[in-house]
């Protein structure tokens, strides 16, 4: 074996190990926290709007609309921040490289969907069709998670499909129940996913 072939082998080993590392870095506690935050956001929104339909926000005062922006902005920022912090802690604990290449690929896979969701949200908001924003975000997030799951194992792909289904059904038949859709997908979906990952890790640890 010459140096060139050995280098190719090492690259292949590195690629496989990075992909598998990403699989073992599936969000567990951070997914549960994210889910709880989403449900808290739903409750706070309901307390302000008094309706399950995001469309009700249009009839609110400027300050209440700002409060809704702040609530969901905080839910988004805190969810991402806690996920990054917990992932960083896991990476340190397992002595893995700080920048995991498949992690970057996963972010890249998620980015177009999030960008599309933002563009659609802005346009829907400007046209006054804000009840469609929730199912659109659910579908786009599902697409992103499904795509990022292509670099990992089956669980993220399954989560992505569940989001897409909830979003599609919600968009077609239940747009007026945006808060319920968010609670089911970003809330309950993440909590169940996190619990399954925790259970899986526990099972692996016992064996």
């Amino acid at each position: 074996m010459d140096g060139h072939e050995a280098r190719k082998r090492l690259w292949e080993v590195q690629r496989i190990m990075e992909c598998t590392t990403l699989c073992t870095l599936l969000p567990d506690v951070s997914a549960i926290i994210g889910g709880v935050l989403a449900i808290a956001g739903c409750f706070l929104t309901y307390a302000i709007t008094g309706a399950l339909d995001f469309q009700a926000a249009l009839s609110l005062s400027q300050s209440s609309q700002t409060a809704l922006f702040v609530i969901w902005g905080c839910v988004g920022v805190i969810s991402i921040a806690q996920h990054l912090l917990i992932s960083a802690r896991t990476i340190r604990k397992r002595d893995l490289p700080v920048i995991v290449r498949p992690g970057q690929l996963a972010i890249l896979a998620l980015a177009p969907s999030v960008l599309v969701a933002i563009v659609l949200s802005v346009n829907l908001w400007m046209d006054g069709h804000i009840r469609y924003i929730a199912p659109i975000w659910i579908i786009c997030y599902g697409l992103g998670v499904f795509s990022s799951g292509l670099f990992s194992l089956r669980p993220p792909r399954v989560l992505g499909v569940i989001f897409i289904l909830i979003g599609a059904v919600g968009l077609s038949f239940f747009q007026q129940y945006g808060l319920v859709l968010i609670g089911l997908s970003f809330g309950l979906g993440h909590i169940v996913f996190g619990l399954l990952v925790v259970q899986r890790e526990k099972r692996d640890g016992e064996r």
Binding site: L10, V13, R207
Partner: protein, 107 residues
């Protein structure tokens, strides 16, 4: 200039690409089911079984067969011997790469 390494220095059990993929995967995952390993390595059932058997006979992996919801569940994990062999294989590869670099510099 000798850019090759003698075949006896390379562990032939790990050197085979499919087995190397299995060992590399198990080196970072605590345990994997047959199904998961099949998905990540893109090997057929028969191929994965055959390579897993070879690795098991060499004492590099431990195959555990059980039942989950009345369905058979096969899981695999890397043994201490397997990890040592994998680390040694990587060291050998790095040594070859380094030797190759040095000889290129000399040229």
């Amino acid at each position: 200039m000798n850019r090759s390494i003698t075949p006896d220095k390379i562990d032939s059990v790990i050197h085979e690409p499919a087995r190397l993929a299995i060992v590399s995967t198990l080196a970072v995952a605590p345990e994997m089911s047959f199904k998961e390993l099949k998905a990540s390595s893109s090997l057929s059932d028969g191929n994965l079984s055959a390579h897993a058997r070879t690795l098991e006979l060499a004492g590099y992996i431990k195959v555990n067969k059980s039942f989950k919801n009345r369905r058979p569940l096969t899981t695999m994990r890397l043994t201490r011997k397997g990890r040592a062999a994998f680390n040694h294989y990587l060291d050998t590869l790095e040594h070859i790469v380094e030797a190759g670099r040095k000889s290129e510099k000399k040229q």
